[in-house]
Symmetry: C2
């Protein structure tokens, strides 16, 4: 059944789950692959193939049970439990994340925050006390942190990521605009705002270049 699952499939599973939860709130009982596809920006065949990688969850002629498919996807994505998250770097983005109640609501509980800035250490930020970076190892172990968020300036991001990996954190979400080189038993995902904006810039620039050459003709 489940061999290697493409990253793109996992992303879509999250989207499907999000829609299923919405549908659940409206007390809908069944949903077709076609409808799920519509709002997730996928095709119905893609929805069915994605799900079929894990098993068969639908009823032919009816579609998928909203409730039970939600549960199945939560199980697959590992969302039936709460993950303990450690945040490194309590700057602007770090602070925003600490205040982002959605993370908690979705099962990601920030249990520790770290910074090097003496002015921040000891302060409470959205109910959490900022610890000195030097206590990272001790606190990560004590609290059982499982996911690390790197929200430091790029210069120190690689070093911080390495420390996190060394202390046994298995997954890192990286907000710093740097490639992290970590042992490959640590999973890394990057949120790179400038990269995304540059992608948009490329598309806009290309559109203009096309426009310009069209006007020339």
């Amino acid at each position: 059944m489940s061999g290697r699952i493409p990253d793109s499939t996992v992303r879509r599973l999250s989207l499907y789950l999000r829609m299923l939860r919405e549908l659940g709130r409206t007390n809908r009982e069944f949903v077709s692959s076609h409808e799920l596809a519509g709002r997730a920006g996928a095709t119905s065949a893609q929805v069915r193939k994605d799900l079929s990688l894990f098993g068969s969850f639908g009823k032919r002629g009816r579609g998928y049970s909203v409730g039970s498919l939600s549960n199945t996807l939560e199980e697959i994505l590992g969302l039936v439990r709460t993950w303990k998250v450690g945040l490194v770097g309590v700057g602007k983005i770090g602070t925003a994340l600490l205040g982002y109640r959605d993370l908690d609501a979705r099962g990601f509980d920030i249990v520790a925050a770290f910074d090097v800035d003496a002015a921040k250490i000891g302060k409470q930020v959205f109910g959490l006390t900022v610890s000195p970076l030097s206590d990272l190892e001790r606190i990560v172990k004590e609290c059982g942190v499982e996911i690390g968020i790197v929200a430091t300036p790029p210069e120190v991001a690689a070093e911080v990521a390495k420390s996190l990996g060394d202390v046994g954190v298995g997954a890192i979400l990286n907000f710093a605009p740097t490639e992290l080189q970590v042992s490959d038993c640590v999973a890394v995902r990057a949120v790179d705002i400038v990269l995304e904006l540059e992608g948009l810039s490329y598309l806009l620039a290309t559109a203009r270049r096309l426009d310009a050459s069209k006007t020339d003709e």
Copy 2:
């Protein structure tokens, strides 16, 4: 030369550019595809193929000129100019973005910020006055906003995105955890923190499932 360029290629071009700028700061003159690949998490063949989609910029036996390849990539990505950005939603993430000096430094200039919250309207946030959402159309046109950032709660994100598209904004960066359905002459990229965390959750959960089944044997 340049047909349809894969999204993955554009992303890598940004990474290459980032590395080239670093190398430029150390006064390096030439760099090989192999070295560029190393730090961008790609292969040397991939670097060469990516670049070859746009032309031939290297010198055989020497590699690529750091300075001139930087310029070429900036040109391709549309980074030789400053883009005017409008931010909708001055909550925690929106505020963090307004304070994120890197955006400015990279050619993305936030020239307007909008919110519906009367308590925020008129206030200065990092040197920018927050405008009422009802003035979106007028101000976007006046300021010539080209890229919109949606950092609102998910319930209103779709509506805001539609307004932005209608007023002529050609590209949107979406921080709300919702799929935006916009006319396809508007480019959209999403930054979805919960989605990324769920991806990590999947990997951690899968790793544990494997561990558990191994111990069982």
